[in-house]
Symmetry: C2
Subunit: 339 residues, 2 copies
DNA sequence: CTGAAAGCGCTTACAG
DNA sequence: CTGAAAGCGCTTACAG
């Protein structure tokens, strides 16, 4: 493989000039630049990334950290971000925590990211108190997506989870429901992962505003997955009389809940209404009413936010963006049956 | 940040010895090694990846190329592969082609991967004739997942698509269906992407074996997505009398088809049976009968296959593995109604 | 088992 | 606008 001095020799210039010409720096005459470009093309020259990185101190890479790439929201965010990063010429290093606390620690505390990337995008990554120091200690631009995480000084792209949950619950209340269950994450979670806390809060707020006391019997924990939704419904039914409606903190839970309800002989929405948050690709297929959030948009925006300090040399940005959600009514919600 | 000579000084050895000790090379005495480890720990030393890569000629990174990370199969493969690569200390560069021919070209033809990774994993990446030269020209170990791609000399991890399609079609035939539609990719596709070709072939084989002539009117093209399945059903219905059963080449198509059928006033399976291939996370939720394929297993195996030549110095491996599939019957298939 | 020295292939002040 | 030289921070023969 040709190296930079091969190109320099062929073009009759120094390696410094080759480097400058190829990177499009302005301090190269047009004549020289075209001679260099031609020589490089002729030789099929590609600069060695490792050498450029070592000499230049920039990796042109970003780390994207997600809990589970197999979940709709994260895959959608990553897809949009990937596009933006590659268009800008950045490599994307994917880190899938997979729910492993060990992985989280390894990534955040062993300086695994040190000199490996120029920026970090944390998607719904739970952070403990001392994680913040590690992450900030990287001295890199960062962005968080989804309110699950918030790093002081980093911009955050997300929706208003409390409001989204309120919207969902109000939709059920508006249909006439009073016994409205809530399925979401573990409230006692020590990790500073606030998504499910916020969504539970929205549920409470909406109920209280309607004069309904939130019932602990109707508040169930679950993993944010289809299987989690199924298990939560089983638990709900075990506890006694089923609710007339369920607000699930995400569509995957909601879809798992719908399936479990049907399996238990309950009809959706005739016996139990179900609403989620997301607008998952398959929400339409199962007729799930949901509060839609713009996942791809969040990925795109987060990438753009991260690229700004990298590609220009403006100071650090701190523009937190809260994107709108939208109630999307389908067939899984209806008024409760008259007794 | 401390550099290798800081560690060397503190441990009272040369940088060469630090390098050897930290990488666990056997030619270091235990006493020296522990002194070095201690010094490194004390300083919080982390080797600069760029410098190691430049000096050592290895990047400890792999490229994973997928068509769309938002599709179930690809996300699942990537999740499993990511785990294996990170456990082995390799970085994962994600490339999501997003259906863009331009992206494919850029990745494969501009030596974008040159000196950037030590190995390449192509998941269902369509390849044209001259792509093979580019890919092989990288002189890197590679592996392909899913029969959509096959690179001479590279191991391939996949299922038998023809057989899986035959199994699906035979299930429908066994229930008594004769008018069995097929929904899959574009058969005239110039790209050497054989998945949908193989699955169509399985459909034909099963029909012919049962003495049924494949009907071109019942053979519809579609993107491998929910929306694609919906559009395909619309097309099918436009063509005339609906089939009594549909074999969809993947679960996402199948689920889109189910939704579109219901929307058109047809019941599944009473009026039309539907079967897919995959066993998508949500197949159970919608009661979809399918031919299950082990996606995570394919990702795991592909990663392990790729890591073998990287971590040991055996020669290139060429062990193609064909994993088994399994018919999983749920509620979307039933005998046709008697006329 | 260990070290001195060269080298990996670029980029970046510095000087002109 | 261009070049000579130093330097980025490691690893790898080579020698002992």
């Amino acid at each position: 493989m040709p190296r930079i001095d091969d190109v320099a020799r062929l073009a009759g210039v120094s390696t410094a000039t080759v480097s400058r010409a190829l990177r499009g720096l302005p301090t190269v005459s047009e004549a020289t630049r075209s001679r260099v470009l031609e020589a490089a093309a002729q030789l099929g020259y590609i600069a060695s990334p490792s050498a450029s990185r070592l000499a230049g101190g920039k990796t042109r890479s970003v780390a994207v950290v997600v809990p589970r790439i197999t979940r709709w929201f994260f895959a959608t965010v990553v897809e949009a971000a990937e596009d933006a990063f590659h268009q800008a010429g950045y490599d994307l290093l994917l880190y899938n925590l997979g729910g492993s606390e060990h992985e989280r620690q390894r990534l955040l505390h062993t300086s695994a990211l040190y000199k490996r990337v120029d920026a970090v995008m944390l998607v719904a990554t739970p952070l403990l108190a001392d994680d913040f120091a590690s992450v900030t200690g990287l001295k890199l631009p960062g962005v968080t997506v989804s309110s699950g995480t918030r790093v002081p000084g980093w911009p955050s792209i997300r929706i208003d989870d409390v409001a989204a949950a309120r919207t969902a619950t109000e939709h059920l209340i508006g249909l006439g429901h009073r016994r409205i269950a809530h399925i979401s994450g573990d409230p006692s979670d020590e990790l500073a992962f606030t998504t499910h806390i916020d969504r539970r809060q929205g549920w409470c707020q909406a109920l209280l505003a309607a004069g309904i006391e939130p019932d602990a019997q109707l508040d169930v924990e679950a993993e944010f997955t289809v299987a989690g939704g199924g298990r939560a419904v089983a638990e709900l039914l075990r506890r006694g009389a089923p609710p007339t409606a369920i607000f699930a903190a995400c569509d995957e839970i909601a879809m798992g809940a719908m399936a479990a309800l049907r399996q238990a002989g309950l009809r959706v929405p005739a016996d139990v209404s179900v609403i989620g948050i997301d607008d998952h690709d398959l929400a339409g297929v199962v007729g799930l009413t949901t509060v839609a959030q713009p996942a791809a948009e969040q990925g795109r925006l987060a990438a753009a936010t991260l690229l700004r300090p990298l590609t220009q040399d403006h100071g650090p940005v701190d523009d937190t963006v809260i994107l709108p959600t939208r109630l999307t009514v389908r067939e899984s919600t209806a008024p409760p049956r008259a007794h």
